[in-house]
């Protein structure tokens, strides 16, 4: 909890994050170096962290929550009342939605620290760069039959978002039609959002649907993977927020400020994430400026309203 004392001013900060622990630990260290206090990184999957915060609601233990594969879990959490409002100075000037990308919560309950692009990872040994699909429709090409993996919308929020996106683009009937075909193309629909990209690097699949940083991290490790940003694809920020009623709100706010500062953003960039702060350069071919044009105009309210319904329909149709 936040009871351990740092330098007296900042104190202990409990930092919930599902992002790579080596990275979050690095962030914590850097913060301690600059601002004192002590950052206690608690790593777990997004789902677990959210459930944990819900269970702890009567006596919250965390201060800051960063990351969740995009804004969806934060939207849900805002509704459940487990996150509090805080907008750091740097984000005060941002619109809620910029270029179709919702970068912060309308009531300030979260603010984005980096950008995720949903796209296609492909195995460079099995697929040539020019053959790789460029649009979501390209996935239906018969040559990919049995060679595609995408995360299961019944399990993963990211995948549900993908479904909702197509619905919005095509209208519902068309949308379902599209997915009927896509499911036929797929060899497997894992629960985890990172699994398709991993399958691609193993050669188990030729194409995998996933976020950009997953593919780039694998590529950096030497795997034969590359990434395609398709047209009209969901682009999301990965937010940070303060835990409602957490033991050390002041410390928490300082940590959020830090994450959006140049120092914090540089660390994220080093881990192949696209920084939201334009002062910091991306380590991947992708930048916020560069991908903006691919962004689909996501109506987050519509998403929030239709989320459960579409997912249940998915389950009924495909399970």
């Amino acid at each position: 909890g936040g009871d351990s004392e740092g330098d007296g001013k900042v104190g202990g900060i409990t930092f919930y994050s599902p992002e790579t622990p080596d990275m979050t630990k690095e962030l914590g260290k850097k913060f301690e170096e600059l601002h004192g206090g002590s950052v206690n990184v608690q790593y777990a999957g997004t789902n677990i962290l959210v459930n944990r915060m819900m269970a702890e609601k009567d006596n919250p233990q965390g201060d800051v929550w960063y990351g969740g594969g995009g804004i969806l879990p934060f939207e849900a959490a805002a509704e459940k009342g487990i996150i509090g409002a805080y907008v750091p100075d740097i984000a005060n000037g941002w619109d809620t939605v910029e270029d179709g990308i919702k970068v912060k919560h309308q009531d300030g309950k979260y603010v984005g620290v980096e950008v995720f692009v949903l796209g296609f990872a492909y195995n460079t040994e099995l697929v040539k760069e020019d053959e790789a699909p460029k649009t979501w429709d390209d996935l239906l090409d018969p040559k990919w039959k049995g060679k595609i993996q995408f995360p299961n919308p019944a399990a993963s929020g990211t995948a549900t978002l993908m479904v909702l996106n197509q619905m919005m683009q095509r209208g519902e009937a068309e949308g379902w039609d599209y997915f009927k075909k896509l499911v036929d193309q797929a060899s497997s629909m894992p629960d985890s959002g990172s699994a398709p990209t991993k399958a691609v690097s193993m050669g188990e699949a030729h194409i995998g649907v996933g976020f950009d940083f997953m593919a780039y991290e694998q590529k950096a490790n030497g795997e034969s993977v590359d990434f395609v940003v398709p047209d009209k694809t969901p682009i999301l920020v990965n937010p940070v927020s303060i835990v409602e009623g957490g033991p050390n709100p002041e410390g928490g706010k300082k940590l959020i400020d830090f994450l959006l500062s140049k120092d914090g953003q540089q660390i994220l960039a080093n881990w192949y994430h696209i920084p939201i702060n334009p002062d910091v350069e991306s380590k991947t071919p992708l930048t916020l400026e560069g991908v903006k044009s691919h962004a689909v105009d996501l109506d987050i309210d519509w998403v929030n309203d239709n989320y459960d319904r579409v997912r249940n329909e998915w389950k009924d149709k495909f399970q």
Binding site: N51, A155, G157, S187, M189, S194, M202, G222, Q319
Partner: protein, 566 residues
């Protein structure tokens, strides 16, 4: 009053303590899960007693009570087909495993088959490998780019030898990686049988195999049924395999529950699925009860007979060959994991693209503390479960406490994540503020893995004739002392079998650790899981290898100490 007092002995105290323990740490959290199935929001029962604020918020939640979740059971076809699929899978896996394990169990317990120690050691490995990793290993082997597929195709085969992304794949993983759950209790059941009964049968002209089927086997049935139930629930509640293999159109109950809670924070949905699972399990416990009723054969008699090991050449060789063939599948899977752990990258080729020890370096620089935590936590849970399980089997077998039997078996089917959340809900505030302590972690491990211990000790317990215990009591021992000094040691084969299961499963336990482990108590399994979560399969594989090695070393040390010739 006097009578009541005089029958109030040490054993009753123990019984009450066990009830209290389970009441507080199992039933209370489960009741809150049950309540959640109505409110769809967390309920803090203990906190409501201590803190008026929490009480009022709880009351608030109760105002929103609805039966919507229950309606769903009957209206939602997905649930129905999920129940059907889960049952089918679990029954199939249990049948295969039981049939498959009988010869190995007999071989280990009752013969001098060659390579017995090796086989016994190999048979624990599948248990140690975390489920995610084993499923993953099957993909490395049988997947499109798997090396088995490669060999198969270069021999002229079409497509894949066996599609891992299917029901068959799940069965394959569960059978070959879960069979030790049933094997060790079965070994214990065979170990305690009375040799002179078999001699009598041979003497009456029955052949060896015949004697086995009609004398040895029926006497081991209580133990077998116990193991069957164990494997059933393990398969029924396993979500690691289906999630990794992810067949496109196979929905399973646990997976549904896991998704509700993990993907969509839908506590009501998860709670209702948990309720369904507990009900299904209850049905099977009832069946088991029906079967084993009146089957306390008591073959460990007070006229002690020396256990003789069969060393008929053809038999032991056949058994040994058979066992080796069966352990070869998990062994090859393990080899694949070893390869993975030293690979720089491993793409679509049958072999890795390069080799490195970097992953091990990573572990040893960053995870030594985790290893130490794992061992301490596992030992704590082990001691606690040995003590509790011994008494529980005693009460179940000697005093017919089927309530206790059922209660200690519930954790088998409650998904770990649901149980963990229930624990946080209950112990997050005063009066019992235990979240974030190693104690709660150990207690949670114990409750969750205790059923393995209970299953295997109960089989042994049933084989002990009552008169031995009576003799102890007659010599002045209280029932408690008799239980400790006579029954306990006689149950050693069962306890040993259970200990392997408990120790290993605690070491690899993830769902509880993720939720409850305080930062300075993070165990190794958590580290592995985190790696898997992030797709860091190489490090995860390396950690699994380290885990296997550690457990094998500890087991060897344990054997040396207890001179238990497994």
């Amino acid at each position: 009053m006097k009578n009541w007092l005089s029958s109030f002995n040490g054993l009753s105290v123990v019984k009450i303590l066990i009830y209290v323990f389970f009441g507080v740490f199992l039933l209370l959290p489960l009741i809150s899960v049950f309540l959640v199935s109505f409110t769809s929001e967390p309920i803090n029962l203990l906190g409501s007693i201590a803190d008026p604020n929490i009480l009022s918020s709880t009351i608030e939640k109760f105002k929103n009570v609805s039966f919507a979740n229950y309606e769903k059971i009957f209206t939602n076809l997905t649930y129905l087909s999920a129940v059907k699929n889960s049952l089918g899978l679990a029954i199939l896996v249990s049948l295969i495993v039981i049939v498959m394990c009988i010869p190995i169990a007999y071989g280990i317990a009752r013969t001098k088959m060659p390579f017995k120690k090796t086989i016994a050691a190999l048979c624990t490995i599948p248990l140690i490998v975390p489920t995610f990793i084993s499923a993953y290993a099957i993909i490395i082997m049988f997947g499109r780019a798997g090396w088995v597929t490669y060999i198969y195709q270069s021999l002229g085969g079409e497509g894949m030898l066996l599609d891992p992304y299917s029901m068959a794949g799940i069965v394959l993983v569960q059978v070959f990686f879960f069979f030790p759950y049933a094997l060790w209790p079965m070994v214990a059941a065979f170990k305690v049988s009375d040799i002179s009964l078999e001699e009598a049968s041979l003497n009456l002209g029955a052949k060896n195999w015949f004697t086995f089927i009609f004398v040895t086997f029926p006497l081991a049935i209580p133990g077998l049924i116990s193991s069957a139930l164990l494997i059933f629930t393990v398969s029924f509640s396993d979500f690691g395999t289906p999630i990794i293999l992810a067949p496109k159109d196979l929905n399973l109950l646990v997976v549904e529950a896991y998704r509700e809670i993990a993907g969509f924070f839908n506590w009501g949905g998860a709670a209702i699925l948990t309720v369904i699972m507990v009900l299904v399990a209850a049905f099977f416990f009832w069946l088991q009860h029906l079967f084993t009723k009146g089957k306390n054969y008591g073959s460990v008699s007070g006229k002690p007979k020396q256990q003789k090991l069969n060393d008929t050449k053809w038999l032991t060789r056949t058994l040994s060959g058979y066992s080796l063939i069966l352990v070869i599948v998990p062994l090859l899977a393990m080899l694949s994991i070893v390869l993975q752990s030293v690979a720089t990258t491993w793409g679509s080729n049958p072999l890795p693209n390069g080799y490195t020890f970097a992953h091990y370096q990573t572990i040893f620089t960053s995870s030594l503390g985790n290893i130490q935590n794992s061992i301490i936590l596992a030992l704590g849970a082990l001691v606690l479960s040995v003590v509790i399980a011994t008494f529980v089997s005693y009460f179940v077998v000697r005093q017919n406490s089927s309530r206790l039997d059922f209660m200690t078996s519930i954790p088998l089917v409650v998904p770990g994540i649901a149980f963990g959340i229930a624990l946080i809900q209950t112990f997050n505030t005063a009066p019992l503020h235990l979240t974030g302590t190693a104690l709660l972690l150990i207690v949670a491990y114990t409750i969750r893995r205790l059923p393995y211990m209970v299953r295997s000790t109960m089989g042994t317990m049933r084989a002990i004739k009552q008169d031995i215990e009576e003799a102890a009591i007659n010599l002045g021992a209280t029932p408690l002392t008799a239980a400790i000094t006579i029954i306990g040691p006689l149950m050693l084969p069962g306890i040993a079998a259970g200990s392997i299961l408990v120790f290993i499963t605690v070491i690899k336990e993830t769902s509880i650790s993720i939720l409850l482990a305080p930062a300075d108590w993070a165990p190794m399994s958590l580290a592995i899981f985190q790696n898997i979560l992030r797709g860091e399969y190489y490090t995860a594989a390396a950690m699994s290898v380290v885990l296997v090695v550690i457990v094998l070393i500890l087991q060897a040390v344990g054997n040396r100490i207890s001179k238990n010739q497994l």
